[in-house]
């Protein structure tokens, strides 16, 4: 069996797949013994919107997912989004800035 040497260990996807299949089999065997917690057509299937009853057509959209994450990191995201201003001059300015830094580093430190 060929394995991929990764420097300190090894990785073989086939072995992993075999193990994973075994694990799934075991889980499946166990899960047959459990009661099914998820029931279609009950309240359980509806999205939970802060306890408010969902209005028709309302659903969890992409903007809602990770809202908390983004809100918590507001201070990080606001300047980041502002930096992506969509103005071509700014794009160029970033490039030139990096160029200047690379230039100073290379020219200054390596002599």
């Amino acid at each position: 069996m060929e394995v991929l040497k990764t420097g300190s260990g090894f990785w073989s996807a086939l072995i992993w797949v075999a193990i994973a299949l075994g694990a799934f089999l075991i889980i499946w065997l166990f899960s047959r013994a459990f009661e099914r917690g998820y029931k279609r057509g009950t309240d359980q299937a509806d999205p939970f919107l802060s306890g408010n009853p969902p209005s028709p057509g309302q659903r969890v959209t992409a903007s809602d997912i990770y809202w908390g994450f983004v809100e918590a990191l507001k201070g990080y995201y606001r300047p980041l989004v502002r930096a992506h201003s969509g103005v071509v001059n700014d794009y160029l300015a970033w490039a030139i800035l990096v160029g200047a830094i690379v230039f100073v580093l290379l020219g200054g430190f390596m002599r």
């Binding site: 989004v81 992506h84 201003s85 969509g86 103005v87 071509v88 001059n89 160029l92 300015a93 030139i96």
Partner: protein
């Protein structure tokens, strides 16, 4: 001293062009800046090949005057780069016209529907 003058000019032209592309918020001005930069690079290339008192590199004059000729390679490079430059400029300007039809402005600050 005089021999270095073309290089200085080339570098200054490039700086001018870069300045225009960096600080002018008009799309056509940016295109003009890029054209200036191209001119600068072309000038740089040609002056690389120049020697004082050289003559033009013409193949049919080669055997007796070869050592007095300026270098032909940079000139060939410059030719290619001039043609490429016109092609890119034309593409840029065509894009500017398209942008103007959609946005109604040439202000780079307002052409930022794609951001974030």
């Amino acid at each position: 001293m005089i021999a270095n003058f073309p290089y200085v000019t080339a570098i200054l032209l490039m700086i001018f062009g870069l300045y225009a592309a960096l600080f002018r918020r008009n799309l056509i001005k940016i295109a003009i800046g890029i054209t200036l930069m191209e001119s600068g690079v072309n000038l740089f290339l040609v002056s690389l090949g120049y020697r004082r008192g050289g003559i033009a590199p013409i193949y049919t004059l080669a055997p007796e005057a070869a050592e007095r000729m300026v270098l032909p390679t940079p000139q060939a490079l410059t030719l290619t780069s001039i043609v490429i430059g016109l092609a890119t400029t034309a593409v840029l300007l065509a894009l500017i016209v398209v942008i103007y039809r959609h946005y109604g402005t040439l202000d780079a600050d307002k052409v930022n529907k794609l951001r974030g």
